[in-house]
């Protein structure tokens, strides 16, 4: 049932994306690494739905998470973003780009001394709010948001 829905979602983008879904997504073995890539959450177009799927809830307290990103990004294709938390029981940090076609951007899971810190470069299609969410070992969520102004969008050709 899910697969049908996914094909439908991808197919609705462009008719010929059906082939892409079959070739690249649906048939990829997910057992290459220990934990499966959370495909369903990455395919949600609604931020709250994606957040609920990846973090178990769509409500978070503010604070305890730091999100470093530029106020103005000249190139939306390469926006440096750093997330961190001052809590010592963080199991994951998740980054959302609110108005990208798919809001769930990335999710980092820490174990065996991995610290709640992740820095990368992301794509933003236009000016939007980005949000970092920290999840603790007791399932609590903390979040922080930041508006990033994009001069040139990151998703065009």
């Amino acid at each position: 049932m899910n697969n049908t829905r996914r094909v439908f979602l991808k197919g609705s983008l462009t008719a010929s994306a059906l082939g892409v879904a079959a070739g690249a997504g649906l048939l990829t073995p997910s057992s290459v690494l220990a934990a499966t890539w959370p495909k369903g959450a990455f395919e949600r177009k609604d931020l709250k739905e994606a957040m609920k799927m990846i973090d178990g809830s769509s409500s978070a307290e503010s604070g305890h998470v730091t999100l470093r990103a530029p106020d103005i990004a000249e190139n939306g294709a390469v926006v440096p973003v750093t997330m961190s938390s001052d809590l010592d029981n963080v199991v994951s940090l998740t980054l959302f780009a609110k108005d990208n076609p798919y809001p769930l951007n990335s999710n980092y899971v820490f174990s065996n001394g991995g610290m709640p810190y992740a820095s990368s470069r992301i794509k933003l299609s236009k000016t939007m709010e980005v949000m970092a969410v920290a999840r603790t070992s007791d399932g609590k969520l903390y979040s922080t948001k930041k508006q990033v102004k994009v001069t040139i969008g990151g998703c065009g050709g």
Binding site: P29, L33, A35, A77, N107, Y108, S111, A118, S119, S120
Partner: protein, 104 residues
């Protein structure tokens, strides 16, 4: 273990291991079209894992929203000079690569 796609540096600083890496990858979204108007298929890294002395310390779940030729930095508590850090990635086409480096 050499790698054609990963460059990595892992340094111990005051009890914390600081890892910086660069991965060569197109990170194609699947939402773009080529000059002929045909969609360019999605091609992106789905997961990156890091192991310190064989134990997983970080797992990254990525998407088409990560920039081309991704940069990734993370930190691990502990770690000694000479310890082994392994970084691996796998993409949506099942392609993968990994690298091992000694902490310095």
């Amino acid at each position: 273990m050499p790698s054609n796609t990963i460059r990595i540096r892992a340094q111990v600083k005051g009890g914390t291991t600081d890892v910086k890496s660069l991965i060569k990858h197109p990170m194609e979204t699947g939402l773009r079209k080529n000059k002929a108007g045909k969609p360019i298929p999605a091609h992106f890294i789905e997961q990156v894992t890091a192991e310190l002395n064989g134990k997983q310390v970080m797992l990254a779940n990525w998407s088409i929203g990560i920039s081309k030729n991704p940069f990734l930095s993370f930190k691990v508590m502990g770690g000694k000079v000479g310890d082994t850090l392994k970084l691996s990635w796998v993409d949506n086409k099942g392609e993968s690569d990994s690298i091992e480096t000694k902490l310095s």
